[in-house]
């Protein structure tokens, strides 16, 4: 009991209590104001510019504010900042060596933001994964994949590896790989394909659709038909185009061949000779012909 009384009398003086109240006020009011400011600025910049800049401004304001609050609290507690900064420098070097990956991610994050290869809200393909960029954070890029899984890609990986920004440009090309039988009239096939594209309102007239002769395949003539849509209509056009082509080919009697193999023995024009063997003896082909 005497210990606690001594503690209160010796340490918790009136000045000390006031100091603690002041520090608590700085922390509570400071963080509340900071959160408000972060939210307000984030929303304002998002509205005026893009969600990407909104997020960046919000984070910048928050981290600078936290650093200022920390400095104010330390000063109030009577710490001199000069030796602290010196110690922080030494500590920083030590931590830097110990956490090279994290530091690399932080620096990579700055490069990602500066390079602006993608922004919050863009659809990107990283490796085999495709999704919408939710945020570009200090250590990683957060992505919502289309099957609603969460993907975290370290900033360093994003910098080092290839990724595709699918929504960077306003229009996209849809590729349809089409195979038709060798007997088909290719100019008729071409007319049908262009007609299908023309009758889909969201297939852009310009850039115009294009038909490219791909190759003489083993079972078919392979063609590549491309059409363009604004990026928002990409999936709609892909479905409409492929379904429309199948429907029209069925209606017009254009054959989409299955893979098949022709086997010849010696000459391409003669049928393959077949011998029927029964119970150890060879049946003469003339016998079978006679039975027919």
């Amino acid at each position: 009991m005497d210990f606690f009384t001594g503690l209160f009398e010796g340490y918790l003086t009136e000045a000390r209590v006031l100091q603690l109240i002041r520090i608590a006020t700085i922390i509570v009011v400071g963080i509340t104001l900071l959160l408000f400011l972060k939210r307000y600025l984030g929303r304002y910049v998002t509205k005026q510019y893009t969600p990407h800049y909104g997020m960046l401004i919000g984070k910048l304001v928050f981290y600078i504010g936290i650093a200022l609050i920390l400095v104010m609290v330390l000063q109030d507690l009577g710490f001199s900042l000069t030796p602290l900064l010196g110690a922080a420098g030494i500590l920083g070097i030590a931590l830097g060596f110990a956490s090279q990956t994290s530091v690399s991610n932080v620096i990579s994050g700055f490069f990602l933001i500066a390079e602006q290869s993608f922004k919050v809200g863009d659809v990107v393909k990283v490796g085999e994964n495709v999704g919408v960029v939710l945020s570009i954070d200090t250590l990683s890029v957060k992505i919502r994949m289309f099957d609603n899984r969460f993907l975290r890609v370290p900033n360093e990986t994003m910098i080092k590896s290839q990724f595709i920004n699918i929504t960077r440009f306003p229009i996209r090309r849809i590729d349809c790989n089409i195979s038709v039988a060798y007997k088909e009239d290719l100019s008729r096939v071409r007319d049908i394909l262009f007609d299908v594209a023309e009758n889909i309102p969201f297939s852009l007239k310009e850039p115009p659709p294009l038909l490219i002769f791909d190759k003489y395949g083993s079972s078919s003539i392979d063609l590549l038909f491309v059409a363009w849509a604004v990026r928002e209509d990409f999936l709609k056009l892909r479905n409409a185009l492929n379904m429309g082509i199948k429907e029209r080919f069925d209606k017009e009697g254009i054959e989409i061949p299955f893979p098949h193999v022709s086997v010849y023995a010696g000459s391409a024009s003669d049928p393959l000779p077949v011998d029927f063997i029964s119970a150890g003896k060879t049946i003469d082909r003339s016998d079978i012909a006679g039975k027919d």
Binding site: S203, L204, P207
Partner: protein, 258 residues
């Protein structure tokens, strides 16, 4: 024809009103403060409206208050329109050319005397999308299926088409060669005279290949339709003069879509 395009409709609860504007058959129904709107299109240009389709594409809209009377008003499409010249069009330097194009209107549905409450805008013709610009930037526009013409005949007027006169003035030192042009219809008004719909005249002045063209919307009735009445105002408040890309110049054609 003015009566056939600009209409005031008196609606009775649960009764379907139908009308035809060019190829568009429009169906309207009211239920308390709900509006139901459906549409269908055919090859005909006039006559009775089509029957309500078996599966109508009803849009259902709840309005802030009940409105018995509804206004149908023609307006320009909600995006720019790209006009084909059919063949490559050449305008010599310092030459002028007056061309006409016909643009299908949208029908704007509003409560009577409440232009600010736009219930719906229904296109009389479904126009195809097109891109005016290059692969990295440009604008989504509608592609016009009819071409720009030098001469107008009476039979070219239709109840759902607005005639837009354009004066192309090539002030550059080079010949202007283009195959498509983009008309910013959001800055145009619609006028009507003797049942024919007209837009105000657009003056396009071309200064050179790498610069944009100056476009001036005259904001007055064209000379061909003197005395016409204003039917609808522009979507975008008129800035009489803008500098925008207007022509698809031949050089662009060499950029393949592959």
């Amino acid at each position: 024809m003015q009566e056939s395009v600009l209409k005031t409709v008196h609606l009775i609860d649960d009764e379907i009103f139908k009308c035809r504007i060019g190829p568009l058959s429009l169906f309207l129904k009211k239920q308390l403060n709900d509006m139901w709107i459906a549409s269908s299109r055919d090859e005909n240009r006039d006559g009775d409206p089509e029957e309500l389709p078996e599966i109508p594409d009803w849009q259902r809209i709840a309005l802030p208050e009940k409105h018995q009377e509804i206004q149908l008003n023609p307006v320009f499409p909600d995006r720019s329109v790209v006009i084909d010249t059919e063949n490559i069009y050449r305008v010599f330097r310092k030459a002028r050319s007056r061309v006409y194009c016909r643009i299908p209107v949208f029908i704007r549905v509003t409560p009577k005397d409440r232009d600010d409450v736009i219930i719906a805008e229904i296109p009389t013709v479904i126009l195809s999308n097109t891109w005016f610009g290059d692969f990295t930037e440009g604008e989504l526009s509608y592609a016009l299926s009819s071409t720009a013409r030098r001469v107008l005949h009476k039979e070219l007027f239709d109840p759902h088409l607005v005639v837009c006169p354009m004066e192309i003035n090539n002030q550059s030192e080079n010949e202007l060669r283009f195959e498509k042009m983009c008309l910013r219809v959001d800055r145009l008004s619609i006028y009507v005279k003797d049942g024919e719909m007209w837009a105000d005249e657009t003056l396009i002045t071309h200064h050179g290949r790498d610069s944009h063209s100056d476009i001036e919307m005259k904001g007055v009735v064209p000379v061909e339709a003197k005395g016409a009445l204003l039917l609808s105002r522009p979507r975008t408040p008129v800035r009489r003069s803008v500098a925008v890309r207007t022509f698809k110049i031949l050089r662009d054609i060499s950029v393949p879509g592959f």
